[in-house]
């Protein structure tokens, strides 16, 4: 219990970053003001050492630490994201959970009021993938369907040599559980990390609503325009309901 975790030192200092950015977008209407205050709780789940903390660290500070230090309890970090050409601002509250079994009992309390559950596995560790069921069960038990589930296969930089979980495996699981999307990332190689968070932000209800409004407006203005943009990344797939 008395162990300390070096990885979590940043948690107390992140607020400066967030506060300075949240107040910059004050030139818009009331919706934007609400957006500034809007906070989304994202809980990171998954077995021990799949790379939950390094995923958050890469996103927050764009760094990667080779040395492993287990997370004690639950860590908190937050970051403001600007979407849609800085018109939309959201605050992501990232709750980094410990993968160790002894902290397992804490986690449901954090899933309880989360908007997004990012369930991570290690693509080089089949067991971590198999255990996704347990995590998904926990999420469903707490939130039912009122949650965005994202499947993240980390350590994609090792995919050539040590891959144990195929894209097909996760695709199958994705279809079964009805997750929002799945993605393979590499925090070490900084691959798809930003995309993951961007997609998470885009999956949030507020953004979707805004998109719908915009689409409505666009359709009114350009009724014959069809969005045909294609994401070329083969590792990223979205469900039919994804934006």
């Amino acid at each position: 219990m008395s162990q300390t975790n070096n990885k979590t030192n940043g948690s107390s200092t992140n607020t400066n970053n967030t506060t300075s950015t949240t107040t910059t977008n004050n030139n818009n209407n009331n919706n934007d003001k609400i957006n500034i205050l809007r906070k989304y709780k994202i809980v990171f789940l998954g077995d021990q050492s799949v790379g939950k903390t390094s995923l958050i660290t890469r996103f927050m500070y764009d760094t990667f630490d080779e040395t492993y230090a287990a997370t004690i309890g639950i860590d908190f970090l937050s970051k403001t994201m600007y979407l849609d050409d800085n018109k939309t601002t959201i605050r992501l509250q990232l709750w980094d959970t410990a993968g160790q079994e002894r902290f397992r009992s804490l986690i449901p309390s954090y899933i309880r009021d989360s908007h997004v559950a990012v369930i991570c596995y290690d693509i080089t560790n089949k067991k971590s993938f198999n255990n996704l069921d347990k995590w998904i069960k926990d999420v469903k038990l707490e939130r039912g369907d009122d949650v965005i589930i994202v499947l993240v296969g980390n350590k994609s930089d090792l995919s050539n040599d040590k891959r144990q979980v195929t894209i097909d495996d996760v695709e199958k699981l994705h279809r079964t559980i009805g997750s929002k999307f799945y993605i393979e990332t590499s925090t070490k190689a900084n691959h798809n990390v930003k995309l993951l968070f961007k997609k998470i932000a885009q999956s949030l209800p507020e953004f979707e609503q805004q998109q719908q409004n915009q689409d409505g407006e666009n359709n009114q203005n350009n009724p014959e325009t069809i969005d045909i943009s294609i994401d070329n990344n083969p590792a990223v797939s979205t469900s039919s309901s994804c934006c």
Partner: protein, 803 residues
């Protein structure tokens, strides 16, 4: 050509003027010279210059002196002008007179011949006398006469005719005279004709001069008048200049005073009703500076002004202060307002200003923290109690919604109270919720109180402290309800495992909270207190349980003749030891040494004491061996339970010592049984009394006193030998049977071995004593005895060690 003296003509005109000079003999025409003089004088007449001088106003003295000079020159000019005018008049008069005289001569004619002749003669004589009497130079007289001679020489008159006394002579002379006069007149006429344009010019000049004079007079008058006026004016100007200087000095003083000590209307407006912005604070700064500077005014003789200004500035400052306080309170009351960065900056400016006014600052912070605390408590209560009146939605009131949207959105999540049936989950949810509130509140407060435009490092540090303070104060409100709720659960818990889980949960959260909150945070301290509460509760549960066992009849009944440890100790350790086993620290709950020792006593020693009490109270077990066996069984169980747990290693040693004591005791009991059954108990005691056999040193002679014992006879020894031979072959079975209820085979073995070895030792030494003093030996040697007692190996080992 000579002319009559100018002055000679004047003599006729100004007869009254006796001072006029007499006609001079020199026939020089004064006109030229007079004109020249006049011209010269006119050139020196600097009227224009004087006039110009009058135009230049200067100092009074200069003006006066110039004025006097000008007056002098004016006088001079006037004099010359008069002389000139007189000359012109006299010339005119002279011409007129001359003409008149000529006319007189002609008109008088014959009528006044005599009188005129007489007059002529007189005139002539006078003139001649004048001519002759005048001190003319000879050359001049000769020239005159030479000219006259020419006249005579050329004309038809002769000198003789002229000098003829008769009528003819007279006519000739008259002719000559007439001739000369005509010539003279002609000449003078010519000469005068030459002067005609000059005269004309002079006349025109006269007009001009008259005008000039008039102008001069009027100018002089004006000048005088102006001079007087300007003199007065200059005085006035000088006075006014003086007063102007004074006034401007006063003005400058007043302006400076105004700048330093007063606020203008606009500034007052800004402070009293204007918007709170940078300008407002600049003006406020000025107002405060005025207030400070008033101390200077207070130090002067009349402090009224200072007091007045001070009071006014104080009034304005106080009003501004009130406005700042109102603004701060209002803005902090509605955090939506802080979406605007400019408003946030203004709020921070307000707070920075109020920072030096501690009471106001504290009041604002207190209001804000109270309000936030209230919202948090409401939200907390909704979470833990639910708010079913509002259609099951948590915190849907307007104010709460506002707060929720700022802190976090719990509206869509299941409230905490739903998990109340499971204490660990409930506390976990509660603490997770508090964790969310802590981070949200920390973020909100940090965003409000982190200076956007810090002036210096000190500002940042100060506001960091303020942030910690505000967060602490706001979250402090949650401490009590959280403590109450969790304390309630803790105090109602009797399951040690649950309590331990709660303890772990609380301890983990105290670590997690310490990452977000300062060490002195009330909430963090509360969680730590709750950790202690759990420890206390655990201790209390254990104590209660032991107290229950102590007084429990069933527990007492557990102590029976089967000599087995009671059931309660098995259950007790089954409950408590897994918890202790999970503890990662060196002490229980990482408690200090003393508390840890107390806890260990509770876990290990107290049950032993209770058990001992139960044995003492038990009437069934009175045999010492049984008591020892049941105690040994109990301790053996305890030891087996606590031995794997590192944290209880101290107690393992202690229990081991206790077991050893009991084993020794039981060994002694067993030895006594052996001795008694072999009927050597008394002799053993005698030998022991002479010299204990346990000593390594043994000498048969030491035991000589044994001979004095009445029982120590050869017959007795033969008898004893028989008894031993009868008993020993069955002794092992008997001993084993008696120790059958002792659970630990090792202890049984130890007891048998030790008692047997002690017996063999006694047997051997007693045999030697017998051989010495009774010459009688036992039948069996020690090896045989050891074999029969089942300790052959141990005996051989011990002899080897001794040897």
């Amino acid at each position: 050509m000579e002319f009559l003296d100018f002055d000679s003509f004047n003599s006729n005109v100004d007869k009254d003027d006796q001072n006029l000079p007499q006609p001079q003999p020199a026939l020089s025409l004064p006109i030229t010279s007079n004109i020249e003089n006049l011209g010269k004088r006119i050139t020196s007449f600097s009227l224009a210059r004087n006039l110009l001088k009058f135009d230049e106003p200067s100092s009074t003295n200069t003006v006066n002196s110039e004025f006097q000079e000008a007056t002098k020159e004016n006088d001079l000019a006037e004099k010359y002008a008069k002389v000139s005018m007189t000359l012109l008049k006299s010339d005119e008069t002279h011409d007129n007179e001359h003409a008149y005289n000529s006319d007189d001569e002609r008109s008088a004619g014959l009528h006044n011949a005599n009188s005129s002749e007489v007059q002529t003669r007189a005139t002539l004589s006078t003139r001649l006398s004048r001519v002759l009497n005048n001190s003319l130079s000879d050359s001049l007289i000769r020239e005159i006469f030479w000219n006259l001679e020419d006249k005579f020489g050329t004309g038809d008159q002769t000198l003789e005719e002229l000098i003829e006394p008769g009528f003819q002579g007279s006519i000739s002379r008259k002719k000559l005279r007439g001739k000369i006069e005509a010539e003279l007149i002609k000449t003078q006429g010519l000469v005068l004709k030459e002067y005609q344009p000059i005269i004309k010019q002079l006349r025109s000049v006269e007009d001009k001069l008259i005008k000039l004079n008039e102008l001069n007079l009027s100018t002089n008058e004006k000048i005088n008048k102006n001079y007087k006026f300007s003199n007065e004016f200059n005085k006035q100007v000088a006075e006014l200049n003086e007063s102007k200087k004074l006034i401007s000095l006063k003005k400058n003083l007043l302006v400076a005073f105004k700048d330093q000590f007063t606020l203008n209307e606009y500034e007052e407006y800004v402070l009293s009703t204007g918007d709170i912005n940078d300008e407002f604070f600049n003006v406020l700064k000025k107002a405060e500076a005025i207030n400070e500077k008033c101390s200077i005014l207070l130090s002067i003789d009349n402090p009224q002004l200072g007091l007045k200004i001070m009071s006014k500035s104080n009034q304005i400052i106080n009003k501004s202060l009130e406005r700042i306080i109102t603004f701060s309170n209002r803005t902090l009351n509605n955090l939506y307002a802080l979406n605007s960065r400019s408003k946030l900056i203004i709020l921070q400016q307000c707070l920075r200003y109020l920072r030096n006014k501690l009471n106001y600052f504290s009041s604002i912070i207190s209001t804000f923290t109270d309000q936030r605390s209230k919202l948090l408590i409401d939200e907390f209560l909704n979470q833990v109690q639910g708010n079913l009146d509002q259609n099951g939605s948590v915190g849907s009131s307007g104010k709460s919604q506002r707060s929720l949207s700022i802190s976090s959105d719990h509206s869509s999540s299941r409230p905490v109270f739903i998990s109340a049936h499971d204490p660990i989950r409930y506390i976990g949810d509660l603490l997770a919720y508090i964790h969310s509130v802590v981070v949200n509140e920390s973020e909100t407060i940090t965003s409000i109180f982190t200076l956007e435009t810090p002036e210096n490092e000190n500002d940042v540090k100060e506001f960091k402290i303020i942030i910690d303070d505000v967060i602490n104060k706001i979250l402090k409100a949650l401490s009590k309800p959280v403590k109450t709720r969790i304390d309630q659960i803790i105090s109602s818990q009797t399951k040690l495992a649950t309590l331990y889980s709660i303890h772990n949960l609380l301890e983990l959260y105290s670590i997690m909270f310490s990452k977000q909150l300062p060490a002195n945070s009330e909430l963090l301290l509360t969680v730590k207190q709750l950790v202690e509460s759990t420890q206390d509760r655990t201790k209390s549960v254990i104590s209660n349980r032991l107290a229950t066992i102590r007084n429990s009849n069933s527990a007492r009944l557990d102590v029976n003749l089967d000599l087995q440890p009671p059931e309660w100790i098995v259950e007790y350790y089954a409950d408590i030891l897994p918890i202790i086993d999970q503890m990662p620290g060196e002490t229980i709950f990482d408690l200090p040494k003393q508390s840890h020792d107390e806890f260990l006593k509770l876990i290990v020693n107290d049950p032993i004491d209770i058990f001992k009490e139960h044995i003492v109270d038990n009437k069934l077990i009175e045999d010492k061996r049984d008591v020892l066996i049941i105690k040994l069984n109990f301790l053996d169980l305890t030891l087996s339970k606590i031995m794997p747990i590192t944290i209880l290693s101290d107690k393992t040693i202690e229990i081991n010592e206790l077991i050893n004591e009991l084993v020794n005791e039981l060994t002694q009991v067993q030895l006594n049984v052996l001795l008694k059954n072999c009927e050597v108990y008394d002799l053993y005691n005698v030998v022991q009394m002479i010299c204990p056999l346990s000593d390594e040193f043994f000498e048969v002679s030491i035991y000589e006193p044994i001979k004095e014992n009445k029982l120590y006879t050869k017959e007795e020894m033969i008898k004893l030998n028989e008894v031993i031979q009868n008993y020993i072959p069955n002794a092992l079975i008997e001993i084993q049977q008696s120790l059958m209820k002792l659970n630990s085979p090792m202890i049984v073995s130890d007891i048998i071995t030790n008692s047997a070895l002690t017996f063999i030792n006694f047997y051997e030494k007693f045999n030697l004593i017998n051989i010495e003093y009774l010459n009688e030996a036992f039948s069996w040697n020690t090896i045989e005895l050891a074999t029969l007692l089942g300790v052959e190996e141990a005996y051989i080992e011990s002899t080897r060690l001794y040897s």
